[in-house]
Symmetry: C2
């Protein structure tokens, strides 16, 4: 009796559930400490201490009807202004509170902006590998997902392949940098090239193409690498931000959209996004958390501990003979599967109690994602398993 | 450049914004205390003290990664079990945590269940007057809204009219009791009659018709009136609940769906609702607030103060010659406009600095909604304006 669209999604979800159950089964047999679950992007480090402090400050000092009450669908005016000011200071932009719409996480923000923009049949381009949920978000509004194949040399977007896929039906392009699942940060050269293609194609077809930058991992970068702020490179850029990873608050569902004055049809886009936030059933981003994050914009989680995980995992895998790019951000490592079939490879890893996600889930078969947002000890204990796994394949090759 | 669907919605939203701006303009001219804004359903009473206490308890005592972290898309298992137990105690039902899905308010819950059920073109029946957002929620999934005209004698659903509108395309019926905008509680007789029609039509067409009960006002009732718990009257009932009004937390976006074991295709419906919660971009209900409401299920807002407003407003309006039903729940009073055109009547009221919403917004022209969730003093000060307004019309009649 459920809708036709949901039938396939429920089946797919049962497979994920089965994986989860399998992890629990393994933990029951071998003990939880001997099962190495790298399947989930759930922050392992604590929220910064400022979160607790500011919740207490707000609850003790501010008026309860203000803290828990309705406000504009776009969020509290003071919160939006504070966020705009903070962005301007960090990125030399010139936003005001009117450019900010508070959202139920970045997932909420992406759905709001896609609802705002898409007519049925409109095309949305993504670069493989990409966060699998984009497919569902685009399908929510009957858009058509167009996938650009990966450049496996460095996992930067392949701009030549991209250019061939832009058509007069292209309404939006979604990028995600630092990237889930590769950990790659798109370089300034890439961004400039991407903007160049988009500007040319907008002119050629006489259309507006919006670049949607999904940025839940902006603050999680290593070796002081810079993540270009995309609104400065391309006028029709809309940013979707989330505090889930930057402040370890994934359950709270708090983020925002940035819709700069420069985007085509600005007044309607920002007006429609405000309405979409309401009619999709979000209504507004959770009120207490809006006030909390506005007071914690300079707070940081313990990135050093993700970095420690990254170093250990990356150098160990390289030593065992695996092929992978050193992640520059986020908390994922994308390793080449040791056989063509990434699902078979993930199944082989499971025999060593190692749980990883096949690249097929990110539109990029032949690889697997390792989420290293786990305890350092978990990575350490998993290494002998990774080593044995590599040996199994090298022995098989030689036989 | 925005989507075609959004164009009309943005225009409509500009009209509401203009009303809001007009209220501000009046306040600037006459002083805020001399403008009587009855247009918004925003709780005026404080959250119960337990909310503050339990936030502090949770923040001080529980693990931060648990409190702010990801959990199952359907919510924390312990929270869901606590809610099921509380419902069972209050309504002699037999739910478990598996029947509960935590949602981003009732608005989120309704979108989740409509995404779960609707194929394009499926019909969803509502009873006039109804909460205007239902039209948008149904349209989000390309469903077709079918409106049953009101029975203006008592504003109970007109079951004869209802029966003629059920077709083989009917997938769901939405009811809202206590009702926004009338304040009427659907009687047990009405509910039994509704269930009877639904059961007969299900058999006649060989289909499943889901009854969706939108219950943000369940706890706001007066004179100890009972609000029937609909799952006990009709097997295919799904409840959407919100804590927005019962605990004065509208900004926090916290509620739940109840999907009983008895509904047709239960396993798929509950599985699909879990997936829909994720892919619509909610992901999960805000985590801290899930834990807070589970500890405050027996807490109450100050309903006595809404009741004081109700009594003063109702008896005064009756004295001035207005026609209206005494509300039994919620914080709305639905008054008959003193001319045919409810928009013109609302405009006439505005000349007395009284802001009310035309019934057309609820699919019921000829009436206006007065939201009396305001300070008692506001109602008191507005009464001379209501009296003059009535006199204007009675004089006009005689001329």
């Amino acid at each position: 009796m459920i809708s036709n669209k949901m039938v396939g999604l429920v089946q797919n979800s049962s497979i994920i559930r089965a994986m989860f159950e399998e992890g629990k089964r393994l933990a029951d047999i071998y003990g939880a400490e001997n099962v190495y679950d790298f399947s989930l992007g759930n922050p392992s480090v604590e929220p910064p201490k400022e979160i607790r402090e500011e919740i207490l400050n707000i609850i003790n000092m501010e008026d309860a009807n203000l803290v828990h009450g309705y406000m504009s669908n776009s969020g509290y005016q003071d919160v939006r202004t504070t966020i705009a000011d903070s962005l301007n200071k960090r990125f030399q932009t010139s936003f005001t509170g009117e450019n900010i719409i508070m959202t139920v996480g970045a997932a909420g923000g992406l759905n709001v902006i896609l609802k705002t923009l898409l007519n049925p049949g409109d095309e949305v381009i993504v670069f493989s590998p990409f966060f699998g949920e984009y497919r569902n978000y685009v399908d929510n509004f009957d858009g058509k997902l167009v996938v650009v194949p990966p450049d496996i040399n460095d996992f930067q977007p392949d701009l030549a392949e991209f250019e061939t896929r832009v058509t007069e039906k292209t309404k939006a392009v979604i990028v995600n940098t630092p990237n889930n699942p590769t950990g790659v940060v798109y370089s300034e050269t890439t961004i400039k090239g991407l903007a160049d293609v988009l500007n040319r194609k907008q002119k050629e077809f006489g259309i507006s193409i919006y670049l949607i930058s999904d940025e839940p991992y902006r603050e999680l970068v290593y070796d002081s690498i810079e993540v270009p702020y995309l609104t400065k490179y391309y006028n029709n850029t809309i940013v979707g931000y989330s505090f889930s990873k930057s402040l370890s608050l994934p359950g709270e569902r708090i983020g925002y959209l940035v819709i700069p004055n420069e985007v085509d049809d600005y007044t309607n886009v920002v007006g429609a996004a405000n309405v979409a936030n309401r009619i999709l059933g979000f209504v507004n981003a959770p009120s207490l958390m809006q006030r909390v994050v506005a007071r914690c914009l300079d707070a940081e989680v313990d990135i050093a501990s993700y970095n420690r995980n990254r170093e250990l995992l990356y150098y160990s895998l390289r030593e065992y003979g695996y092929t992978c790019i050193k992640p520059e951000g986020a908390f994922y490592l994308f390793v080449k599967a040791l056989e063509e079939d990434d699902k078979a490879f993930a199944a082989a890893a499971k025999k060593h109690n190692i749980l990883i996600v096949p690249g097929s889930s990110f539109g990029c078969p032949g690889y697997c994602r390792i989420a290293y947002c786990v305890a350092y000890e978990t990575i350490k204990r998993s290494l002998p398993g990774f080593e044995k796994l590599a040996k199994e394949y090298s022995t098989a090759d030689r036989s």
